[in-house]
Each structure stands twice: as C-alpha cells, then as structure tokens.
C-alpha cells in the first residue's frame, strides 16, 4: 500500500529526463499490476454486489452487474434472523481466538526455544517426529480424536478446540525455531552470565526480538480459527456454542444456499481479518520475509 507522495520540487531541481524506454517499462509494470489487482479484487466486488441483490438476480444470465433494486435488507435479514444469532457466534469465535492464540504462542515459544537452543539427546529425532505429524491427513485423526474427547466428556465444550492449542502446533514451532536460530547466541550468553535463567532469557530477550514471527503466527492463527469449520462443527452441538464459520454454513447448507444472504454475511464477517491484516501488515510482511515463509 505504498502511496507516492510528490513533494514540491526544490527550486533548483533539474528537469527529469524521461526517455521512451523508462516510460514503456513503467507502463508495462503498471498495466500488469493494475490488471492483476483487478483479477484479485473482482471476486470481492462481485461478493459485495451479490450481497445487495435479490437472490434470483445473482444467477441471472447474462450476468447482471448492478443490483436492481439495491437490497440493503439482505444485511438486516441475516443479522436479525432468530435462527442465526451472529452476535453469539462472534462471541464464541472470540473466546476461541483468545484461548487458542494465547495457548499457541506460549507453548510454541517454549517448545521452539528448546528445539533451537537446548542440547538434548535425540532432540533432532523428536523434532523430525514433530514435523512428521504435519504429514498426517486430518481426516485420519478425526474419529479417533472425537472418541478420545468424548471419553473425556469434552463434547459440546470448547475444550477440544482450546486445550490442544496449549500443547504446541508443529507448523508454528517449526517457523519459530527457524527464527530463533537467526538470533545471535551472544545476546543470551551475556544475559546468562549476568545471572538470568532460561525463562528470563526467553521472555526478556528472545520474545521481544521475535515480534515479526509471533505476529505472523498470530495473524495466521487468527485467520485459521476464524475460518475453522470442521472443528467447531464436530465438537459443538448447540447453536448457542457455534462459531462464525459454522453460522455461515447455515446460509450455505447441504441442499439449500441463500446466496445473497450468504454474501451479505461474508462481506461483514471478512472485515475483522482484513482490518487485522492492515493493522499488522508491516510486521506481518517482515515476519514472512525473515522466516523465509512463502505463501
């Protein structure tokens, strides 16, 4: 989102010579960038337009670009529907967000530090096993995990979703470990010489230096939890415990989709993730470039 600001040229500034090549080069680059951004933005605009249409206009052929009439009531219909208490869904989602992101950041920091710095026999083997868990498809674990949590009496509570987040998560641990290893050891060593213990080292030195990677994991986790559908759907039974993603599924059911309402709700519920991204954009981009993560 770089905004070019033109400051007033100094009185003695020389006139810039633009040659044809420069103009061509810039032209091509801008055309490409504009074209591609339109490609990416088009679905978003289509979503907004669809959110304002009566339902049958969405499926019209040839496509009808502008809603006629503009149906603002779609938003009211979605958010005042007695079967879809979105304020409850949002509250539940935020409980999960806070519980899971906190747990993930704390547990993964500790584990990743161990893998990055502490010497222990079989450390790399254990790390390998941890990474191997990433290879397991979720579907294989679904029913065994469900049975395990139901034996523990955790069905229809947030525990099966929040508690595992306090026991580390392979992908985040891997990212953090890579990042921690780029921090010079000397910083820690001098702190230890000054009498700091390991926890102090982690929370006073490592964490403040790792804000970019923690931001990346925080934002990615926020997005994943916000969009997680299968977990809440499986472990929660009552509408009053459902999350935003499951709530949206009520508009996009197995056999019946209310497309205009779905779009109205989607537009509204995308906002938190978008706003969060723009707020934390700098740290996020920095974190991605520093951890070598490519989306």
């Amino acid at each position: 989102m770089a905004i070019q600001t033109t400051s007033r040229p100094a009185p003695a500034a020389r006139r810039q010579d633009y040659n044809l090549g420069d103009i061509l080069h810039k032209g091509v680059v801008y055309a490409l960038l504009i074209g591609l951004s339109l490609l990416f933005l088009f679905p978003f605009f289509w979503m907004i337009l669809s959110a304002l249409k009566p339902e049958h206009q969405i499926y019209r052929w040839p496509p009808q670009w502008f809603p006629d009439p503009i149906q603002w009531s779609n938003f009211a219909d979605v958010f005042s529907n007695p079967y879809l208490p979105f304020q409850v869904f949002i509250k539940n989602t935020l409980i999960l967000e806070v519980g899971m992101i906190t747990g993930r950041l704390i547990s993964c920091t500790l584990v990743a530090y161990g893998f990055a710095r502490l010497e222990a026999p079989g450390r790399d083997l254990i790390f390998g096993i941890l990474l191997a868990t990433l290879m397991l498809p979720g579907a294989v674990l679904l029913i065994p995990r469900f049975i395990l949590f139901s034996q523990m009496g955790w069905i229809n509570t947030f525990n099966p979703l929040i508690v595992p987040a306090w026991f580390g998560e392979a992908y985040a641990i891997f990212l953090m470990r890579q990042f921690f290893r780029t921090i010079p050891k000397e910083l820690e060593e001098s702190a230890i010489v000054d009498g700091a213990n390991r926890l102090q080292v982690i929370f006073r030195i490592i964490v403040p230096l790792s804000i970019p990677v923690l931001t990346v994991i925080g934002i990615l986790s926020f997005k994943d939890i916000w969009n997680d559908f299968m977990g809440p759907l499986l472990y929660l039974n009552e509408i009053s415990k459902y999350t935003v993603a499951v709530g949206l599924a009520y508009l996009n059911g197995q056999f019946d989709t209310q497309m205009n309402l779905l779009m109205a709700a989607s537009v509204t519920l995308m906002m938190p993730t978008l706003i969060l991204f723009f707020i934390a954009q700098r740290a996020f981009v920095e974190g991605i470039t520093m951890t070598g993560l490519k989306g």
Binding site: H56, R60, W61, Y83, L148, Q151, L233, L234, G253, D256
Partner: protein, 431 residues
C-alpha cells in the same frame, strides 16, 4: 548415559500412558450418554430457513408435553461425517435424519431402532395415515426403521412462453418419450436447449434422475432381491433407455452437456430461459414461484415404452438404537412425522401424511397438483434393494456412463463392463 536412561524411562511412561488411553477408547463399548430424564436430542442437515418447521414443531410439542425437553442440534454441512463420528463415540442424538441412500446401510449396521413394536403397542398411531409408496422408503426387509420427513418425486417443468412462441401444446399426462423429444427438438435454437435432464444443477451422471427412464422402460439397475446385476443393468431394455438418454445429448443435441452447464458458472438456466424444459425434483419450485413474470408449468414425467415410472428423493427420521430415552424419542418422532408437528413440515415440503395433504389442497394447486398426481409408479431406489448398491452398482454405472459420454464407448459395451464390475463387487459382499 544417565540422561539417556532417564529419557528411556520417560518415553516408556509416556507410551504406556498413551496405549492405556487408546485401549480405553477402543475396547470400551460406546454407551450413549445418559440424558437427563425427559431430554432428547434431535439432529438434521437442514439449515437456514428450513429450520423454522423444527423450531415451531418443537415449541408446540414442548407446550403439549411439558415433561419432555427437545434439543435441536442442526448440522448444516458435513452431516454424515459428524453423525458417524457421534455414532462411533456413542454420543449420537436420540433422533437423527437419514437420506434414502443410507437407509439400508444404517439398518445393516444396527444404528437405528426398529419401530414395529413401538407402532404395534401404540394405540393412537397407525401407519395407514401415510402414502404407502412413500412410507415404504423407511422400511428394510419388512422392518420399519424410519418415518418419513419429506420427499420429492421428479417433475417436468416447462417454460410456457417458449411453448407459446413455438406454437406447441403444453405437456399433458398422455405425453410419451416421443412427445418429449419432439418438443425438445422444436424448442432448441442456436442459443437455447429444449430440455435439461436429469437435474437442474447439470449433473448428467445423477443416477436418481436417470432411474425413472429405466422404470419407464420396465427395467432397473439390479434385481429386486439386490443380488443380481448381470442381465439387468446390461439388459436390452436398459441399453435402450440409456441409448435414448445419451442420444438427447449426442445425436439430437437438445440437452446441455455438463461442459455447457459449467460454462454458465452456476446461472439458473431454466429461470433465465436458456433451457425450455427441466426434469428434476420439486426443490427449485419455491424459488421459481416468486420470480416476477416467470411463466412456467409443471407436469409429471412422460411415459416410456413400458408405461409410467418415477422415483423419490426421500428423507426420514430414525430413533438412535443406542438412545437412552426411547420412550420420549418415540413420542416426539410420531408427533413430527404424523401428528401436529408434521403440519409444520408440510409447509416446506411434501408431506407423507394423507389427511394433511388433503387439507392443504395440494392436489388443487397449479404447480403441486400435477406432481402429486404422479405419486404412484415409484420405483425403489438401488440403495433400498441392496445396502451395497451405492458402492457396487451406482459407482461403476456412473463411471461407464461417463465413458459413453466422453469416450464414445458404445452403450452395450459400457453397460456390459459396468454389470460385470458391479456383479463381482456384489458377489464379494453377498457370499
């Protein structure tokens, strides 16, 4: 060394603990949670506004039966995944919804409570209130497992304006395959197809929508005892029906192919006048009814060489065999399937309860009347004839139908191959 020993001990402890937990999960037979007395849980795949009949019926039921508390737990997507996980863990709801394709399988796995003794011992309940052809979809091997929630036969929708412009007679109850084909040919133009078949969402392998063609030619995909495919799936009559179906796309070109439908990216082809007739269930009717200036009609399916034939898409409610509160579950089940609760559902879909249907005057309705008139001649679905039909019969049938469409494989050759594959699969299960 000492650290290695410690590590070894720690690992042993962890592994032992884990295996104990796993054993607990595997060897402990699932037992449904004992519900507080009088609370039953009900689940459905319905979502959005389709939950309204549930909430209304539950409110009315609780007012009438204050001792029973009903909790609705809708699952808007991934219904099967969640229900099977719940059944495996012994936490499934007391009443769950089952689609027609799963009835035989669920019955075989013993997931559903047989209802016959409940029906016999209940003086205020009788199966006679249901349309018999519809109720039979909840029965397997003479045992009743489910009561009907709702259903839809297949229907022929036609665009009256297109018929008028072409100077054609509207479809009538005497229509045959030839009438349908001739009208489709007359209605097909450079930018319009005469007929969309077998579904309004454009899946030309949708077997349920092709089944009526087989019934109209006096054939099926497998035998009534569910054991034999050879000589039925590849019989002369089946080949003839499938040939007629395939020719609509490949020879007469009166129907949009799957690629054609996909190129419209989800647009509603019938409502937009891109196709003149559609052969599908009743589901889109409520949306088409409210479009201003959309002038269309409904009619039963045309007769084939062997006469009338149709099929149902059906859903029913079952009581969980592991329910701890079957008494209360039965009370609620009969209330929503045949009692006052059924009236709520009748506002959304076809009811199986004859007195309610009569009271609604459906038979007089401009759109619903012709559909209701065709509730006889319903062929059983393959899944009802054999619990293995989905996997063993429908899958190879669809795979070879695709070969006919995409690789120009001759119909007889494709169905011979499909029948051989299906027979081998069935035999593997049945021996």
């Amino acid at each position: 060394m000492a650290t290695q020993k410690k590590l070894l001990i720690a690992l042993t402890i962890v592994l032992t603990f884990m295996s104990l937990m796993a054993n607990g999960a595997i060897f402990q037979l699932p037992v449904a949670d004992a519900q507080g007395s009088g609370t039953i849980r009900v689940t459905t795949w319905d979502s959005g506004n389709a939950l309204e009949p549930f909430t209304n019926a539950i409110a009315a039921f609780e007012a009438e039966y204050p001792d029973i508390n009903v909790e609705l737990e809708p699952i808007p997507q991934e219904y099967g995944t969640k229900l099977l996980a719940q059944i495996a863990a012994g936490t499934a709801p007391d009443i769950f919804q089952v689609g027609d394709g799963d009835v035989a399988r669920f019955a075989r796995e013993g997931m559903m409570e047989p209802l016959d003794s409940w029906i016999e011992n209940d003086p205020d309940f009788s199966m006679d209130v249901f349309f018999p052809g519809v109720a039979s979809f909840g029965q397997v091997g003479g045992v009743t497992y489910l009561l009907t929630k709702d259903y839809s036969p297949l229907v022929l929708y036609y665009n009256k304006d297109h018929f008028d412009a072409a100077g054609l007679e509207y479809p009538n109850p005497d229509w045959t395959w030839d009438d349908l084909l001739n009208a489709a040919k007359a209605l097909t133009t450079a930018d319009r197809w005469g007929l969309m078949i077998p579904a309004h969402w454009g899946d030309w392998l949708w077997t349920r929508g092709i089944l009526p063609l087989l019934a109209q030619n006096g054939t099926h995909l497998l035998s009534e005892d569910g054991l034999t495919v050879e000589g039925i799936l590849n019989s002369e009559a089946t080949v003839e029906a499938i040939q007629w179906y395939v020719d609509l796309f490949k020879v007469h070109k009166v129907a949009p192919t799957r690629q054609d439908v996909e190129s419209f990216a989800g647009a509603d082809l019938f409502a937009n006048g891109v196709v003149s007739m559609v052969w599908t269930g009743r589901w889109p009717l409520k949306d088409w009814r409210v479009i201003d200036g959309f002038n269309f009609g409904t009619m039963g399916l045309p007769a084939g060489p062997a006469g009338e034939g149709n099929t149902l898409c059906w859903a029913g409610f079952a009581i969980n065999a592991a329910s701890q509160n079957k008494e209360a579950a039965w009370t609620f089940l009969k209330y929503i399937a045949a009692g006052d609760g059924a009236k709520e559902f009748a506002n959304y879909a076809f009811t199986a309860v004859q007195p309610i249907a009569e009271a609604q005057g459906l038979t007089e309705d401009e759109y619903d009347g012709p559909i209701i008139a065709y509730l006889e001649n319903v062929a059983p679905i393959p899944e009802a004839l054999s619990p293995y039909a989905g996997e063993c019969v429908v899958t190879p049938f669809q795979q070879h139908l695709e070969k006919i469409f995409l690789e120009d494989m001759p119909v007889q050759e494709a169905l011979d191959a499909a029948a051989a594959e299906a027979q081998a699969c069935l035999d593997g299960y049945n021996q």
